[in-house]
């Protein structure tokens, strides 16, 4: 077993142990009799759980979207794409769609801008106490969404909330708002909570990718007389571009998912559907309305939407990777 290693041909471990001399990395007990059984014993429990609780439910989402049935009755009726064509006339659905897209755009732009700014000043200016700042800014990321929803419900509370109470204290009573009860405001209130939750997370990601940019590049551009802002756009941004693209995918996913859990815990989609997002509408249909087939059709749309947007964004932002 020191020089001869089994090839990575499929099934070799079962049928012909240790015949080919092709070597692979790693040094496990490869190609011995009984490998197949060992592999199976190690792999099957994980695969069984994965198939049962992830693959099968995912397939179910797609399958169920083609049926209609209500509640716990077992009678399912195949309706083809009817659920999907109904969606086009569903104003509540369209509104939820709009809200999701609005959150996606606003939260992404603001969070990314602030995250980049913070990361840049922390890494470039070696701000005193930057480890402390990083520690604090990352805290919201370990808190649960329910806790964040509870915190912001308290902050936004109409009577005794931190926000309105402070405004009253400053004699700015005129600026007091019903932050979660005003149809025009509620989406921004949710967006603020999302920003609060994820700013530190993205800052840390950007910091770690900025930290790997060699110092010489900045020294060279400083000799050319580039200002800090110019350096940021000419050196930093192009060199962390791949990292930025990755986080764009995260932003898309969190606009869909984080917005839902926050809305679910904080506003319940209200007032009057003003803060409804796609996933919360899906839940409403599935649980309170017992329209499982219809709900799953919404699920399929969300899935397709986030996949397509990720793909488009990834295409649109493709650049030749820069080496440094």
């Amino acid at each position: 077993m020191t020089t001869t290693r089994t090839p990575p041909t499929p099934g070799a471990s079962k049928r012909a142990p240790g015949r080919s001399p092709t070597s692979t990395r790693g040094g496990a007990a490869r190609g011995r009799r009984g490998d197949g059984r060992f592999v199976a014993v190690c792999l099957l429990p994980a695969l069984a759980l994965f198939a049962l609780f992830m693959i099968w439910p995912t397939v179910s989402v797609f399958r169920m979207s083609l049926y209609t049935w209500s509640g716990f009755s077992t009678q399912m009726r195949f309706v083809g794409l009817d659920n999907f064509s109904k969606l086009l006339d569903d104003e509540q659905f369209l509104r939820a769609f709009q809200n999701t897209v609005a959150l996606l755009v606003v939260v992404t732009v603001v969070t990314m801008g602030m995250g980049l700014f913070l990361a840049a000043v922390m890494t470039r200016q070696k701000l005193r106490g930057h480890t402390f700042y990083r520690f604090v800014l990352y805290v919201p990321n370990v808190l649960s969404v329910v806790v964040i929803a509870a915190i912001f419900s308290a902050v936004y509370d109409q009577e005794n909330g931190l926000l309105n109470g402070t405004l009253r204290l400053l004699s700015l009573d005129g600026l007091q708002q019903v932050w979660l009860g005003d149809q025009k405001l509620v989406l921004y209130s949710v967006a603020t909570a999302m920003l609060w939750q994820s700013l530190g997370y993205y800052m840390v990601i950007y910091m770690s990718s900025m930290a790997s940019i060699p110092e010489e590049l900045y020294e060279a551009s400083a000799l050319d007389g580039a200002s800090a802002a110019r350096q940021f756009f000419a050196v930093t941004l192009p060199l962390i571009w791949q990292n930025l693209r990755t986080t764009l995918t995260f932003f898309i996913l969190s606009a869909v998912n984080l917005s839902f859990v926050l809305v679910r815990a904080m506003t319940g989609g209200g007032p009057d559907g003003a803060s409804e997002v796609l996933l919360s509408y899906m839940y409403k249909q599935a649980y309170t309305n017992s329209a499982y087939g219809y709900g799953m059709a919404i699920g399929v749309v969300i899935f397709a939407f986030s996949f397509l947007v990720s793909l488009l964004v990834s295409r649109a932002t493709r650049r030749e990777p820069l080496q440094f």
Partner: protein, 292 residues
């Protein structure tokens, strides 16, 4: 900074400090405010939100733990989280090791499926999982008239474990691959069995990756409420769902002290853990590009 400041102390520097400090304050204030408010008397909630409580009103905590059952929910959460971690490690460590080190038929299919699993968000599939468990309960109604699969903390833990398998295997197998094969070959020459090599040689060496996996999964299980809300509809709730109920109850009863105390009970364990391991958490996140 070693570069010479030509223009003396730069004015931009103070401004950045102010900006960064200001943003940091915006993060700190709401959390600190909750901690302080949890000690206030009912009458102290009216008026200015900036007043400090006159005394330590620990009654709120007694109310939250007992009256609002947060103590019991805490126990459920601990149980579910621990069980979930045990389940996910028990199935993922061997699977990740085999994926990293062995060749077998259908390996590429397994790898692709697990990779695709990384992109399946639980929010989509909770409904089918719920309906599946309802079906199972209905099928076994003769054996378990009260149902077995729903309202079962162990089942919730199993679902948690299952939904984090792709991520766990992804991280662990990447780490196993990075360990040189010499150690296994040496152990093999000593006559160690495959199982022994895995558990006694490789697992201890993969400890940093296992720690990272435990951390992220702990946070995911402890903080989840969507799956818990769906799969434990009865009395035995987790802490997050309990807090959600407390929020709803508070809107009606106007007893904020209990709610704030409940929030602190949920926040403190996570904050303590974070303070202990923040360096590792942030490093792990930066290395794996993990969505937290």
């Amino acid at each position: 900074m070693t570069t010479i400041n030509k223009s003396g102390p730069r004015p931009g520097r103070g401004l950045t400090h102010l900006l960064v400090g200001g943003i940091t304050l915006l993060i700190v204030i709401p959390v600190a405010w909750v901690l302080v408010a949890s000690l206030k008397r009912k009458s102290e909630f009216f008026g200015s939100p900036w007043t400090l409580p006159e005394g330590l009103h620990l009654r709120n905590y007694v109310d939250a733990f007992g009256g609002a059952h947060m103590g019991r929910y805490f126990a459920t959460s601990v149980l579910v989280t621990l069980l979930g971690l045990v389940f996910v490690l028990a199935v993922s460590v061997p699977a990740a090791y085999v994926v990293a080190r062995y060749e077998f038929r259908g390996k590429s299919i397994v790898e692709v499926a697990l990779l695709a699993g990384l992109f399946v968000n639980v929010n989509y599939i909770v409904v089918p999982i719920f309906l599946m468990l309802v079906d199972w309960d209905r099928a076994l109604v003769d054996v378990f008239p009260d149902g077995f699969f729903l309202d079962n903390p162990a089942m919730l833990a199993l679902v948690y474990a299952a939904t984090s398998i792709p991520f766990t295997i992804y991280l662990l197998s990447a780490y196993f691959r990075s360990i040189p094969g010499d150690f296994e070959e040496a152990a093999l020459l000593d006559g160690a069995s495959r199982f022994r090599i895995m558990t006694r040689v490789m697992l201890p060496m993969a400890r940093p990756a296992v720690t990272t996996v435990i951390l992220f999964n702990f946070l995911a299980y402890w903080n989840d409420f969507i799956i818990a809300l769906t799969l434990l509809p009865g009395e035995g709730k987790t802490l997050q769902v309990g807090l959600l109920n407390l929020m709803a109850a508070q809107k009606a009863a106007a007893d904020p002290g209990r709610l704030y105390a409940g929030m602190v009970i949920v926040i403190v364990p996570v904050l303590l853990l974070y303070a202990l391991i923040q360096r590792r958490l942030i490093q792990g996140m930066a290395a794996g590009g993990v969505k937290g």
